[in-house]
């Protein structure tokens, strides 16, 4: 059965994770389920950088999923996607930070709201804005799992964003071309 599994990691704010269920379900037209993860987070932590390696986390989960699929052959045809939601800072080895990461055309993705918080930039806390940002990033990373690359349209949620301001500027929905690729993957 097609579904999206949300995996809260560590001491993540559960309210933030739950806020994603409805919008993701509406856009991707499938159930969004909260699941529990059992990731050895310390293994992905780089002390020198004070950040978690998102590439290694995705890799770990993918390997685990493959092992599960081997144990339960019926799951092989499943189209479920897994989105890890995290509250700590993420990096991929060559870059200083990332807001999230996904397997392009795969099943596993991760987002972090660490750099989406206004407080990090010395601004007053704005929870509605934070929820809006994390929702856009969740849509964006899950979009990558459908094979979508960055969209040139500013209004599309697949538009690239490397600064938090970029996230605020772009739209919170997919453009017609991107939504078509998400809702009709074969098309």
């Amino acid at each position: 059965m097609n579904s999206i599994h949300l995996l809260p990691l560590g001491d993540v704010d559960r309210g933030i994770v739950e806020s994603l269920q409805q919008p993701l379900s509406r856009v991707f037209r499938m159930p969004v389920l909260l699941k529990e993860a059992n990731l050895p987070l310390d293994a992905f932590f780089d002390e020198a950088r004070g950040q978690y390696n998102s590439t290694a986390m995705i890799q770990f989960l993918r390997n685990e999923q493959s092992a599960l699929a081997r144990l339960h052959p019926g799951r092989e045809g499943s189209h479920e996607r897994i989105l890890m939601v995290f509250g700590s800072d993420l990096y991929i080895p060559v870059l200083t930070y990332v807001f999230g990461e996904a397997e392009l055309g795969g099943r596993v993705a991760i987002v972090s709201y660490y750099r989406l918080r206004n407080e990090l930039y010395g601004l007053p806390l704005q929870r509605p804005l934070l929820l809006k940002r994390i929702c856009k990033e969740a849509l964006h990373e899950l979009g990558h799992t459908y094979g979508l690359t960055h969209c040139l349209l500013q209004d599309c949620v697949m538009h690239a964003s490397t600064y938090v301001e970029d996230i605020d500027l772009k739209g919170d929905t997919f453009c017609p071309d991107c939504i078509a690729a998400v809702q009709n993957p074969r098309a």
Partner: protein, 448 residues
Amino acid sequence: MNKQDIGILVVDDELIVRESLTKWFREDGFRVDAAENGAAALRKLQGNSWNIMLVDIKMPGMDGIELLQRIREITKEITVIIITAFASVDSAVKALKEGAYDYITKPIDPDYLDHLIEKALKEQQLVRENRQLRDTVSELSTAGEIIGDSPEIRNVMELIHTVAPTDTTVMIRGESGTGKELVARAIHNGSPRRYFPIVTVNCGGMTETLLESELFGHERGAFTGAQQRRKGKVELADGGTLFLDEIGNIDMKTQMDLLRVIETKQFTRVGGTDIIRSDFRVICATNKDLEQAVKDGIFREDLFYRLNVFTVCLPPLRKRPGDIAQLAHYFLEKYTRAMTKTVKSFTPEAMHALKGYDWPGNVRELENAVERAVVVCKGPSIEKDDLPVQTVAAPRPDGRKLEDIEHRYIAEVLDETGWNITRSASILDIDRVTLYHKIEKFGLKRKQ
């Protein structure tokens, strides 16, 4: 350009770096590949087109700087960005000296990386557009050729090559139809100003006020009919060349204005007060005896000396009869192509007639004669009968008899006055009836 058409090659010995960057650029929609060392990168250069290469400076075997040198030996088209683990001024300077576009340190700020790639691609596009425009300009600028192999025309070519790269004012002198404008264009095209316009002003046949407005432009309401501001030719020639044709025909007031603008490179539009600056080179042309015009007080001496810095004298066609055949074949090819006809050559009789004619209208007359012949020609070769009547009927005088000199001079004066019989008779100091007799005697005919 579609992002899928843009190729990025990542060269780094660390697998994790290759994988991370490849994934990062793939999410952006680029065509990406990676190589683990310099040798593998050079192999990937063969048969693939890469726009950008990100090259790690420290790699076992061939390092990033050496790879950069090898890439530069093969192509200058690829933008190379050097990646290094530690910021080092020495290696950065070395990389930039070897032609690297920029230099980034690991870990890379994602925002900086995206902007750097965007900037490099924009510059590549500008360079590409610039090259295309230059090619177009070069193609257009070589459109008119100076044809001939005679010592006279070779001398002209040498003068053009000498003066073209300078900013010197040039005066081109020669009879009507000798190709003065072609020479002006050749000088302009050989100059550093060739990517800017050459603006031609035909100073003959214009009233004083019209020429003034043509040269300097006018403001709205400067005179009746001036409904909009209009830029003059001097302003339009900014950065390029101002070609003043038939300079001997301008009135005294415009001569003074022209002298001022040539000296100061500043002017005001007619009816305006704003000072306009224009940076242009002057090339002028005349078929008049300007020295005599100066003596007669109808051409300013100071303007004459300002214009007559470097002179190119064009020989009349009758002085270089050896070029007639080459020119005739050039025009034959030009017009058969334009009219999609299959005329291949001239019959020996037709060529003999062309070579035997005096060509008072010079190359222009020869071109017109060949064009007409191509129109009327029915067979594979131009016959003598296809040529204009006067070409066949009036063979070139040998130039030594008094009668030949008289014939040639009368023809010149008639051409100069546009066959104005009264003015020609006045210049020749004979009455009109005598002139008519001479025209009949020498078989002179007005050119079409």
